[in-house]
């Protein structure tokens, strides 16, 4: 009996999210009396599988098939379903990224089992009658839900950024086993047909510094000083929903529940009041500096540091100071 952890990777490099899932899965499997196994799917899966013993996986299933070369939610879901049936896994875990939640939802629909998304904690000893109990995220993290899960096969995801991915104290064997699922050609219908790269290098979700602007910035043009500061700090510009609704920035720059979740070393939030939907996208930042004229703005009261003042004066002054110190 095992807990199967779905590990995502980019051409052989494991995602941080997968390491989070494995880190979350270790104590869960131990408490549930299950062995922890992992599955990696697609091109480069071999390379990604190699390091998983160090993260506590005793068995690593390496799934390959012509339909699995690139991502396809149906083909990936069906692969995991066949693996669950073949190995007798009684629980499946992934990290609650867009892809993780989508693949587990596919597994749930195919197995006709419940699926609890974005858990913060899971107790497999639960209510004492075989049911698991968990606390999961609602409203992107501004509300929590305690729930019970009654299922033959327990399907859960762990909310992104709940744990930090670290290697196991005691590594497991990480024995690699290849797995070739039987996939209907029809599943090609939802396999990625093309991939378009718009930006190389740092992006909003990976940037060490994000300079955010809200309604207080005032116009699309007024983002130029934010761009300048972000450039100086090796970061990128983000924005609030009010900004995209005004058409000042593309939606891909939006930080928030319906935009991108960021986790930089520091988030400089300027002219942002801090509505709940923005806050949940920013709360994984390690440090937050708010710049606002309103001392009582949500963003200011929740930030670790703040400057009270007009961002149009404060931001250029910071850029200038950075340049001055660098000489």
């Amino acid at each position: 009996m095992s807990l199967l952890v779905i590990c995502d990777h980019d051409r052989g490099t494991l995602s941080d999210a997968s390491l989070e899932a494995l880190t979350f899965g270790r104590p869960l499997a131990a408490a549930a009396g299950l062995e922890m196994a992992a599955v990696v799917i697609g091109e480069g899966a071999d390379a990604a599988a190699a390091g998983l013993g160090a993260h506590g996986a005793s068995t690593v299933h390496v799934a390959s098939h012509p339909l699995l070369t690139d991502f396809g939610p149906e083909a990936w879901g069906e692969t995991v379903v066949q693996l669950v049936r073949g190995t007798g896994a009684t629980a499946v875990l992934a990290c609650g990224t867009d892809r993780g939640n989508e693949v587990v939802a596919q597994v749930a629909a195919r197995l006709d089992q419940p699926f609890v998304a974005n858990c913060r904690s899971v107790d497999p000893t639960g209510d004492g009658s075989g049911n698991w109990t968990m606390t999961r995220v609602q409203w992107g993290g501004s509300l929590l839900e305690d729930a019970t899960l009654t299922a033959e096969i327990r399907l859960v995801t762990v909310a992104h950024h709940v744990v930090e991915g670290v290697a196991a104290e005691a590594p497991a064997s990480g024995t690699m086993v290849s797995f070739v699922p039987e996939l209907d050609d029809a599943l090609a219908r939802t396999v990625v047909a093309d991939r378009v790269v718009l930006t190389r290098g740092i992006t909003l979700s990976t940037a060490p510094v994000v300079v955010g602007g809200g309604r207080g910035v005032g116009s699309a043009e007024a983002f130029a000083p934010l761009e300048e500061l972000a450039g100086e700090l090796g970061g990128v510009v983000g924005c609030s929903r009010a900004v995209t609704n005004n058409g000042w920035r593309p939606h891909s720059d939006q930080v928030g529940q319906t935009g991108t979740r960021i986790a930089p070393e520091i988030y400089i939030a300027s002219g942002i009041s801090g509505a709940i939907q923005h806050w949940v996208g920013a709360m994984a930042a390690k440090n937050i500096l708010a710049i606002n004229t309103d001392r009582e703005a949500n963003m200011v009261t929740r930030a670790g540091h703040a400057v009270i003042g007009d961002l149009h004066q404060v931001i250029p002054a910071i850029t200038e100071e950075v340049r001055r110190r660098r000489g």
Partner: protein
Amino acid sequence: MRILVCVKRVPAPGARINVTADGQTVDAAHLGFTTSPHEECAVEEAVQLTEAHGGEVTVMTLGPAAAEEQLRYAASVGAHHFVLIPIDDVDWDPQRTASALAEAIAAVEETNGAFDLILFGNESADAGGFQVGVRVANHLGRPIVNGIKGIEIGGEQGGELDEGVATARREIDGGFEVYNVPMPAVLGVKEGINLPRYPTMKGRLASKKAVVDTDERTVEAGGQVRLRLHRPVEQISETVILGTGPEAAPAVVDLLEELGVLS
């Protein structure tokens, strides 16, 4: 083309969300209600697609009787037909919701034929189960891709342009993936696919006359049961005010140096 959009009525939160005394739902006493943001964009996308290619938009919701308000809002921005699946409870679990929707969709399709496209929001703003669309697609035996921020009708299939294919763009870090999904298909869309229009006066008047069909469904509950909702314990930390106005810049840069982001 015929498009169905499934939407959810959710509270419109401000800076803080409170929970009712029994912990079962959000205390909406001081909140308005709205259509979950991804789904508001799904309605707009469906209306735009039918404006470009002809056809009609049906909007379906599972919710309290008051969710009629969200259906009428959809009418005010250009949707044509409306189905309400009324529930008494505060919320149904995702399996139960999906089963009821799939049954109701099958009932509409039995009379009028299959929808070319069914749109869901990627996830609801409140419960955020990330699965109802996938379960419905599976019930109906149709393909689904989530996270969609662009849809075009007509796409490449076997090297040729096929009008029966929906080309869908999914945003990924630093770019996007393209899917060519044969219709009838289901897509889970995200905010940012468009900027939803505001209702016109004419639209508002028309929405008052819109006919809302009611379709009651009795479906068994699924395996995920809500015990209670609660607010996370907030780490209350004093905000360190580094200064006022541009004079605060040196203190800010000290902080950046301390965090090691200046290197």
